[in-house]
Amino acid sequence: MDVSKRDKFIANLDQIIFGTVDIGPIEDQEIASMLQMVRMMVAAGSNINSQTKEALWKRIMDQMPRQGVHSLPIRMQSSQSDELDDEDLEYVAAGMPRSLPGEACPVCGSTNMSSKGKCPFCKS
């Protein structure tokens, strides 16, 4: 694989996704074509039918009680489920695994230690 070609594509991909309109001329025809496809995918995704959005909003609000949203129990799943319960939601942050109770990083004090004892913040 041509690494410089790949890196060029990734850099341009980031620019398009994060909103840069004009990324300048692309000489490589394959990369230019792939980036055109990226633009199309972004444009298509940005034009979702507003009726879908409104209908889903209504459905969500219908599911939520008018009062006491905070006291709503989050549906528990089977033990095989990957669904998050209340407690897990406290820890879920960019896929970080939960630490054991009382386990904290000796360097920065973070309680988000991985199961391998590595701190995701200070990397100690």
Binding site: A44, N47, H70, D82, L84, A94
Partner: protein, 189 residues
């Protein structure tokens, strides 16, 4: 991380407020919907999962801790888990629902252009179904999660350089699939 994506600043005292929910929904709906759409082929399931993710988000909002991670990281972590759960429940038997969706029509175009654009978008989604679950997840996180390759590497457990390789190869494959179907990418919206 996530510095290039919009982030919401939450008033913790307003977390049970419908107006707060509406603000979050308006800001993140498109990204969440597309993220699910890129990972799940059944359009009905896409709607169900999207609404379930927001319900889960709203009911769990009190647990969000800004000092731990950006809001979008928390949101897409919930979305990832929900989709993982969806596939687990289905026994990983995914099937492609190739129905035409009105959601995939480009706005602001003349009717004939809009039709061409909608067809093109449908071709893209069909092509996505030929990719593996991991490739689709990486593309979805990249396009709609607002994740950098480093972020993707962290949440998926693969290296950053490998993330770039998979992304490049997957996009290349998508293009090849479209071209093999005689589709001219330059016809898109």
């Amino acid at each position: 991380m996530f510095s290039q994506t919009e982030e919401i600043s939450l008033d913790p005292w307003a977390n049970g407020n419908e107006a707060t929910f509406a603000e979050i929904y308006n800001l993140y709906f498109t990204r969440v919907y597309n993220y699910v759409r890129y990972r799940v082929d059944d359009m009905h399931a896409v709607d169900d999962l999207t609404s379930e993710i927001f319900e889960k988000l709203f009911t769990g909002l009190k647990y969000y801790q800004p000092e731990k991670a950006p809001f979008s990281a928390w949101l897409f972590s919930i979305a990832r888990h929900r989709i993982t759960d969806y596939y687990r429940r289905r026994g990983r038997h995914s099937f492609a629902s190739l129905e035409v969706s009105a959601d995939l029509v480009c706005s602001g175009l003349a009717p004939d252009q809009s039709l061409i654009a909608a067809e093109m978008q449908q071709h893209i989604h069909k092509a996505l179904t030929s990719l593996g679950e991991r490739e689709r997840e990486i593309i979805a996180l990249k396009f709609w999660g607002g994740f950098t390759n480093r972020d993707i590497a962290r949440v998926t457990g693969i290296s950053e350089s490998n993330t770039g390789v998979i992304l490049y190869r997957s996009m290349r494959r998508l293009r090849q699939i479209l071209e093999s179907q005689g589709i001219n990418i330059n016809d898109g919206c």
